[in-house]
Symmetry: C2
Subunit: 419 residues, 2 copies
């Protein structure tokens, strides 16, 4: 597919993240206005709530965009998703006969604040990157051997939806329990091993019924879109708490997502296969489509007061072992009801070499081998005031499908208990 | 506190679960009516949605009961909870001057269907029974030694809110991946080790803010009420999947709760202390109140076609090591936002002797020592058609605070993939 041209001129740059081919969905506000639904096109945002109110978009008897979330459209299902996307394309394409009606509904993106694009129903985080799992084994257990089930199950755990926040939201360093290996007793205080996890988030559009499994192909069709996802992690809290029932407070103080939902439709031509299987999967985990996507990813780190952010990792979503559709299928295989608005974290994305590792734990090998930023500072883990940013772009022929930054700054731990 | 007498005569029996002292909150429907809020009093249900619509209850400018969930009242906080309870007591007490207005709003409970009493925001399950943790260690790892963190942290994991259902909802035996210890590869099919977990569920009424810890005393005041909770578990699926990130599909096919929310206020005089601590807790986990409750619990099992249900376990909620307030405090200690409608499972409640064990895994020692029902049948785990019921009662001086049964019948696994 080539670049689709828009009458919004800024959208026609081959490197702009938001061409007509993309049309990502977000929620924005401008000074004095309440948050409302918008679609990014070049440097502008089309006010979809207003477009629907004015009759320019009419897909349903009931309004789809009168609340500041995309959940209502998500629940409508693939036929309405497609009709909406076709309608947007017709409105915004070069030569559209409706430019005069749509143009007054454009807002300059630079003037807008972005909010959570959808209400998260439940959040699940997976562990589907083989390099990451091997690295964590080597670091924590002295061996890169995968857990016995890893090549058979897309391992996941339920996370906490209430701590999912939109890019730009500052995150307090968490307090919690930790125990040094040589200490008799645990102690309480701010985490000393604060980390990121570079992930993609898949957003469930249509749900499944309690008691009813789904196939991988059905799961693939249920996915509405994707965001970048940073699963902030307190490694010292996690290390002390996670046996035997998994991560809990080490993962519950903040999970940041990028503000624009990039639809599965926009990513369709970037599908990529999962790698050759080390062991054959059970039949229920086989689908007919390539389930990954070729999306270039990078992680940037900027200390407080530094003028530039340093790229500390570069990798690609196509490095993963399990796809989101396989994960979603497995999530429902025992009959777990999946709902519109469920968010599935891919698991940390790490490529085969150090420069491609998607967490500081791996980049600094648990702090034993600190890395150096462009400012000359070194880091093992995150320090207060550091800003971490994820970026993602799929590169097409003359156009780019970008995600918009997923960024967050770490604030000091709250003083607890207050004096 | 003695029995409080009501003009609803059936409520004045010392053994009735729903005297005026209780006033539990549920959602009910009768033939041809939509679900609405109700309060149990003796053999009757007071239609609260109607009482508010008719002006008999007026606590807020906005209606609190015009949706079939108690979440709106829950969000209002303790002052409104108390005012509502006082208003109910005035309406239903013997000698009330408003009996003539309230009486037409009573519905016979036997004619009503009961529904989920609240919308579950997120569900967390804990592991706070020491006897249970020791039993599981002995069964699964050959040693009753507790995990190193167990005496310091109320261990919990995030469960799946979408699979929480009201008592009476049948549950399909889940399909899933399992692996026999001597097998090379996992296989797929219906769980062969289907189990219950006898738990109490604490319902969060008012929430906390992201990034802001809470004290145990603050947590105690945030809890709106309690239900009985059966965390159905597929032990063979769980055993294969749970390393390293905890339970997932082995716990996601159904969690049943009793239909009436028994308020913390109704249980106030049944508070019981947590046991002496084997190791001193970190200061943040200390509160000023007794956090457990003296609630007698029993588990009944009835095979398909059997005329009677057999009591297979009897224990008490006061056996737990950690209270719900301690669990809720720990849940928020790293800054995790807690929300109205969050449900916290206590963890399996097992007393010190076999008759008090709260799961079949423990009662049959992983199936190695099957137990015998009154019908003469034996069981290691649950068979298709079995009905499992939890019961709970707090015994006061001349009255009972009952929970109403938490029951569920196991249906065969769905045929998957369909031929």
């Amino acid at each position: 597919m080539p670049l689709l041209k828009s009458w919004v001129a800024s959208a026609n740059d081959a490197n702009h993240p938001f061409p007509l081919n993309n049309l990502p969905y977000g929620v924005f506000s401008t000074e004095g206005s309440d948050p409302r639904c918008g679609v990014a096109i070049g440097d502008m945002i089309l006010d979809i709530t207003a477009a629907e109110a004015e009759g320019l978009i009419a897909l349903s008897d009931e309004p789809l965009f009168d609340m500041p979330f995309w959940n209502v459209l998500m629940e409508e299902g693939p036929a309405v998703w497609t009709a909406f996307r076709e309608r947007l394309t017709a409105l915004l394409a070069e030569g559209s006969t409706e430019q005069d009606k749509a143009e007054p509904l454009l807002v300059t993106a630079a003037d807008a604040d972005l909010h959570m694009p959808f209400a998260v129903s439940e959040y699940t985080d997976f562990y589907a990157g083989k390099q990451h799992a091997q690295n964590m084994g080597a670091i924590l257990r002295g061996s890169p051997d995968l857990p016995a089930n890893w090549l058979h199950i897309p391992i996941g755990y339920n996370g906490r939806a209430s701590s999912v926040v939109v890019s730009g939201t500052p995150i307090h360093r968490p307090n919690g329990q930790t125990k040094a290996p040589d200490a008799d007793m645990p102690s309480f205080g701010p985490s000393k091993r604060l980390d990121i996890e570079l992930e993609m988030g898949a957003i469930v559009g249509t749900g499944s019924d309690l008691g009813q499994p789904i196939t991988v192909d059905e799961a693939d069709a249920m996915i509405f879109g994707y965001v970048l996802l940073n699963d902030w992690s307190a490694r010292d809290i996690q290390g002390w708490e996670y046996q035997p029932l998994g991560p809990f407070q080490g993962k519950a103080f903040g999970t940041s997502i990028s503000p624009w939902i990039v639809t599965a439709a926009a990513l369709e031509s970037f599908r990529a296969p999962t790698p050759a299987r080390d062991k054959e999967l059970l039949p229920y985990l086989n689908g007919s489509k390539d389930g990954l996507y070729d999306i270039e990813l990078e992680v940037l780190m900027q200390p407080e007061g530094a003028e530039t952010a340093s790229v500390i990792a570069k990798t690609n979503y196509n490095r993963m072992y399990y796809s989101a559709a396989e994960q979603l299928c497995h999530h429902a295989i025992g009959g777990c009801e999946m709902n519109s608005g469920d968010l599935l974290g891919s698991g940390t994305i790490s490529g085969p070499v150090r420069e491609e590792y998607g967490s500081l734990m791996e980049l600094s090998w648990a702090g034993r081998e600190p890395f150096t930023l462009e400012t000359g500072e070194t880091r093992g883990f995150i320090e207060d005031g550091d800003t971490l940013t994820l970026r993602g772009n799929a590169r097409g022929d003359g156009y780019t499908i970008g995600f918009g930054d997923c960024t967050g700054t770490i604030l000091p731990a709250v003083n607890w208990p207050a004096e």
